[in-house]
C-alpha cells in the first residue's frame, strides 16, 4: 500500500519513556544471547525528521535494557522498497528478518500460505484479546500472523474557512448533503474535492467506499479469500461512482494530479487552500504539515483551518451506513525467528509503548487503553470514528492483494479516465482472480 509511508513524516515532541519489561506473552526469558533483526518503514522524510524511526530506536533500546540477552538490529527501509522488493526477496531466500513490517490482508495471507509467518495466536493470545477488533486484518482463518500498532479509518479532510465562504453550515453526513456542498463550493468558484488520481489508489478509495455501502459486510470481507465478485453490488459500486463523477466534484485534470508530491498535488491543493476537501487517511494530517514552512506557527495556523468528517453515508445499499474503510501498520515474525520476537512484538503493542507512539509520533494506537494519549482534536475525531464504526473494512487493495487489488485499482482509474465502466472493473477483478 503506497500511502502508508506518509505517516512517518512528523510528530510531536512528547518524550516517551515506556516501562520496558512490562510485557505480556510468553517466550524469551532465557539468558542465551539472542539477536533480533527488525525491518520497518520509519525513514527520514524530506526535512530529515524521522520521528517514527527515532521512536522505534527508543523502543528497541528500552527493551534491550530490560532484556540484556537480546540485541535488536534495526534496518529502516523506504516503504515501497520494503514491501515490494526487500521483504519478498528476503522471505524467499530463507534468510528473512525476524520482525518485519506487515500491512495485513491478501499479501499477508499469501506469505502465511507459503509458510513464512509465525503463528502468534497462542503465544500472544492475551495481547490479541487486549487489542480487540483491530487485529482482524492480521488474521487468516482465525490464525493471527501479525499485530498492528496503528489502525484508523479514512474520512474527508476539509478547510472550514472555504466551507464558510461557500455558505456551508454543517458538515455533510449523507451523500445528498455532500453533493449539495459540492454545488455550493462550485458556485463560490472553489474546487470542491481534490483527488490524486494519477497515483490510482486515491481515486480507487472513492469506489471502495461506494462498495462498502452497496455490498454487505460479509460480501466485502469474504471477497479477500473467496475472490468471488459475482454479487451485483460490485457493479453497483461503480455505478454510484460514475453518478458521483457526473456531478464533477473533483479538480480539473484529476488524472494528472498526484496525491502527495508538490503544490499541485491533491494534498498540496488542500494545504494551500486551492481545494476544499480530500478523502484520505489519518496520515494526511502530517502530509498537509509538509506543505507549511515547518515552523510551529505555520503548523498551528494550518490546523486552525483544517478539520475532518467521516465519509458520508450512502443511502440505499446493503452495507451498514456507519461502516468505514480503514487500514493500518503492523509487524509479523518470521517463522524461524526466535521466541523473543513474539515477546518483543508484544512489547511494541503494549499499552505504554502504544501511548508513547501516540505522543511521540502522532499516530493512532490500536490498544484501547492508549486512546487517551491522542490529544489532537482532529485525530481524536478519527479515533472515535474508528471505534464507533459498525465495522471497519481493510483497504480493498490490501485485502485483495497486489494481483486482484491492482487490477481493481486500474479498472477504477479507467472510470476516472472515461475509458472504462462499472462492469469493466468487475471483469478485470474476475480475470485477475482467475490467474491467482
Amino acid at each position: 500500500m503506497a500511502l502508508l509511508a506518509a505517516c512517518s513524516s512528523n510528530g510531536g515532541d512528547g518524550d516517551a519513556t515506556p516501562d520496558a519489561g512490562a510485557t505480556s506473552g510468553g517466550g524469551g526469558g532465557g539468558d542465551e544471547p539472542v539477536t533480533l533483526t527488525w525491518w520497518h518503514n520509519g525513514v527520514a522524510g524530506d526535512t530529515g525528521e524521522n520521528s517514527l524511526g527515532d521512536y522505534w530506536d527508543t523502543v528497541a533500546a528500552d527493551y534491550m535494557a530490560a532484556n540484556p540477552n537480546v540485541t535488536i538490529e534495526i534496518e529502516q527501509i523506504q516503504n515501497e522498497d520494503l514491501q515490494r522488493t526487500r521483504i519478498p526477496t528476503a522471505l524467499q531466500s530463507g534468510d528473512a528478518p525476524d520482525l518485519f513490517q506487515q500491512w495485513g490482508g491478501g499479501e499477508m495471507a499469501a506469505q502465511a500460505e507459503a509458510g513464512y509467518l509465525m503463528d502468534l495466536s497462542d503465544v500472544l493470545a492475551d495481547d490479541i484479546g487486549r487489542l480487540g477488533g483491530g487485529v482482524a486484518p492480521w488474521q487468516v482463518d482465525g490464525v493471527t500472523y501479525g499485530l498492528p500498532f496503528q489502525f484508523a479509518v479514512e474520512g474527508i479532510w476539509y478547510r472550514p474557512s472555504l466551507f464558510a465562504e461557500a455558505g456551508i453550515a454543517d458538515v455533510p453526513t449523507t451523500m445528498d448533503e455532500l453533493n449539495d456542498a459540492v454545488q455550493k463550493l462550485k458556485d463560490a468558484d472553489i474546487v470542491p474535492i481534490a483527488v490524486g488520481a494519477a497515483d490510482k489508489w486515491p481515486a480507487a478509495h472513492w469506489w471502495y467506499n461506494f462498495a462498502l455501502r452497496s455490498c454487505t459486510q460479509d460480501t466485502v470481507a469474504n471477497a479477500g479469500t473467496s475472490l468471488d465478485f459475482s454479487d451485483p453490488c460490485w457493479v453497483a459500486a461503480g455505478d454510484a461512482l460514475q453518478e458521483f463523477l457526473g456531478t464533477e466534484p473533483f479538480q480539473p485534470q484529476f488524472t494528472s494530479t498526484v496525491a502527495q508530491t508538490g503544490a499541485t498535488s491533491s494534498a498540496g491543493m488542500v494545504a494551500n487552500g486551492k481545494a476544499a476537501m480530500e478523502l484520505m487517511g489519518q496520515w494526511n494530517y502530517f502530509v498537509y504539515e509538509g506543505f507549511t514552512d515547518g515552523s510551529d506557527e505555520a503548523k498551528a495556523a494550518l490546523h486552525e483551518d483544517l478539520d475532518w468528517f467521516p465519509m458520508p453515508a450512502v443511502e440505499g445499499g446493503a452495507g451498514d451506513p456507519s461502516a468505514a474503510m480503514g487500514g493500518g501498520d503492523g509487524f509479523s515474525c518470521f517463522v524461524d525467528a526466535p521466541p523473543e520476537c513474539a515477546d518483543f512484538l508484544a512489547y511494541i503493542v503494549s499499552d505504554d509503548v502504544q501511548r508513547g507512539y501516540a505522543e511521540a509520533v502522532g499516530g493512532l494506537p490500536v490498544a484501547p487503553a492508549a486512546a487517551d494519549a491522542v490529544t489532537d482534536p482532529v485525530l481524536q475525531k478519527i479515533a472515535q470514528t474508528t471505534s464507533s464504526a459498525a465495522y471497519v473494512q481493510l483497504w480493498m487493495d490490501t485485502l485483495l492483494g497486489p494481483n486482484v487489488g491492482g487490477a481493481m485499482n486500474d479498472g477504477i482509474v479507467n472510470i476516472f479516465n472515461g475509458t472504462g465502466d462499472s462492469q469493466a472493473v468487475v471483469d478485470a477483478m474476475i480475470a485477475a482472480a482467475a490467474t491467482s
Binding site: A198, Q253, N403, G406, N417, G418, D427, A431, A434, S436
Partner: protein, 347 residues
C-alpha cells in the same frame, strides 16, 4: 538484456583479437604444445572475466525469465511450489488464452493492454523514422559548415540527450502540469490543454510523450549525422560545386549517400531503443493511469512487479527479448549487411 549484447557484438571481437594477437609473437613451430597452452591461457585471461559477467548477468537472467514464464508464480511463495502452466502465460498475453471460460475476460484484461503497449512501441519506431530522421538530417546538413558559435550550437542540440531520463522526465512533468507553463502558453494563444491533461488524456497522452521522446533523442541523431558528415571529403563537394551542382544536389547526391552507414546504424539504435523504451514513460507516470503511453517494458513492470504476477511478467519479458532479438538479427542480415561486409565501401 539488450539486443546488442544478445547478438553477441560485445563478446565476439574479444575472441578474435586475443587469438589474432597471440600468433606472430613467437614462432609456432618450435614449441607447438606450449604455444597451444599459452594461446588458451590468453584466451581465458582476456575473455574469461567478460564471459563470466556475460553468463551471470545476461544469459542466466534470460534463461531464468524463460523458466519463470512457464509457471504461475506470485513472487511470494517459494518458486519450487509454483504451478507449471506451460505456455498459457504467453497465450494469455497474445490472444487471451485457450480456455473458453476465461478467454473473453483475459482478452480485455490482459491481451488488449499488451497489444496496446506493443502498438505504442511500433508507433514510436515508425514515427521516429518518419519524423526524427528527416528533422535530424536537415539540421545536420544545415549545421555542417563553419559559422560562429558552431560548438555552442552543437552542445545545445546534444544537451537533452545528455540529461538523465529521470531529470528530463521530472522537468516535463512540471512543464506539462495542468497548471504548468505549457498550459499557460496554450491558453495565452486561445487554446486549451487536452481535456484529460497533457499526459493522461486518452487521445493526446501518447503524442505528448512522443514529443518528449523526440526532444530527448533527436540530438543524438544530429550529432551522429554531423560526425558522419565531417568524414565526407570536402573535395567531392567542391568538385560538384565546380560542375555546377546546387546546394540541394550536393546534399542529395553526395552527402546523404556518403553518410548512409551512419544513418543505418542510427536507425538500428533507434528501433532497438524504441522497443526497450522504459525510463521516460515510467518516470512520467508508469505508462499512464490507463496505459495511454504504455510500452511493452512498462507493461511488463506494471503487471509482473506491481501486481506480483511474476510468471506472466516473465512471459512478457521473453516476448520483448525475442522481438528485439529477431528485429536486430533481421536488420543486421538485411540492411546492415552491405555496411558490415565491406566497411571501406561507403555505399
Amino acid at each position: 538484456m539488450t539486443a546488442l549484447e544478445a547478438s553477441g557484438r560485445n563478446a565476439g571481437p574479444a575472441v578474435e583479437q586475443s587469438t589474432a594477437g597471440s600468433r606472430p609473437l613467437t614462432p609456432a613451430t618450435q614449441h607447438p604444445r606450449r604455444d597451444g597452452v599459452r594461446k588458451w591461457a590468453e584466451i581465458a585471461l582476456f575473455v574469461g572475466p567478460a564471459l563470466v559477467l556475460f553468463l551471470t548477468f545476461v544469459v542466466y537472467p534470460v534463461v531464468s525469465a524463460a523458466r519463470y514464464s512457464l509457471y504461475k508464480w506470485n513472487g511470494v511463495s517459494q518458486f519450487s511450489d509454483a504451478e507449471f502452466v506451460g505456455f498459457s502465460n504467453y497465450t494469455r498475453a497474445l490472444w487471451g488464452g485457450s480456455d473458453p471460460a476465461t478467454q473473453q475476460a483475459f482478452k480485455t484484461a490482459y491481451s488488449q493492454p499488451f497489444w496496446e503497449a506493443l502498438s505504442h512501441n511500433f508507433a514510436i519506431i515508425g514515427l521516429s523514422l518518419a519524423i526524427q530522421l528527416p528533422v535530424a538530417l536537415l539540421v545536420a546538413l544545415t549545421l555542417n559548415r563553419r559559422f560562429r558559435g558552431r560548438a555552442f550550437t552543437r552542445v545545445v542540440i546534444f544537451a537533452p540527450y545528455v540529461l538523465s531520463e529521470v531529470i528530463a522526465g521530472t522537468m516535463w512533468l512540471i512543464i506539462f502540469d495542468p497548471n504548468g507553463i505549457a498550459t499557460q502558453w496554450t491558453r495565452a494563444i486561445g487554446l486549451d490543454m487536452p481535456a484529460g491533461g497533457w499526459f493522461e488524456d486518452p487521445t493526446w497522452g501518447f503524442w505528448t510523450v512522443f514529443f518528449i521522446i523526440t526532444w530527448k533523442y533527436v540530438g543524438l541523431a544530429i550529432i551522429l549525422f554531423l560526425a558522419g558528415l565531417s568524414g565526407v571529403s570536402e573535395d567531392l563537394q567542391e568538385a560538384a560545386a565546380i560542375d555546377g551542382a546546387s546546394w540541394w544536389q550536393i546534399q542529395w547526391r553526395i552527402n546523404i549517400p556518403l553518410i548512409g552507414p551512419t544513418i543505418r546504424i542510427w536507425a538500428f539504435l533507434s528501433i532497438i531503443g524504441s522497443i526497450q523504451l522504459f525510463d521516460m514513460v515510467w518516470v512520467l507516470n508508469r505508462g499512464g493511469t490507463a496505459g495511454q503511453y504504455s510500452t511493452i517494458a512498462s507493461y511488463m513492470m506494471q503487471i509482473g512487479f506491481f501486481r506480483s504476477d511474476w510468471g506472466y511478467g516473465s512471459a512478457i519479458a521473453v516476448i520483448m527479448f525475442l522481438l528485439s532479438f529477431v528485429i536486430a538479427l533481421a536488420y543486421m542480415a538485411t540492411i546492415l549487411r552491405r555496411d558490415n561486409a565491406n566497411p571501406r565501401k561507403a555505399r
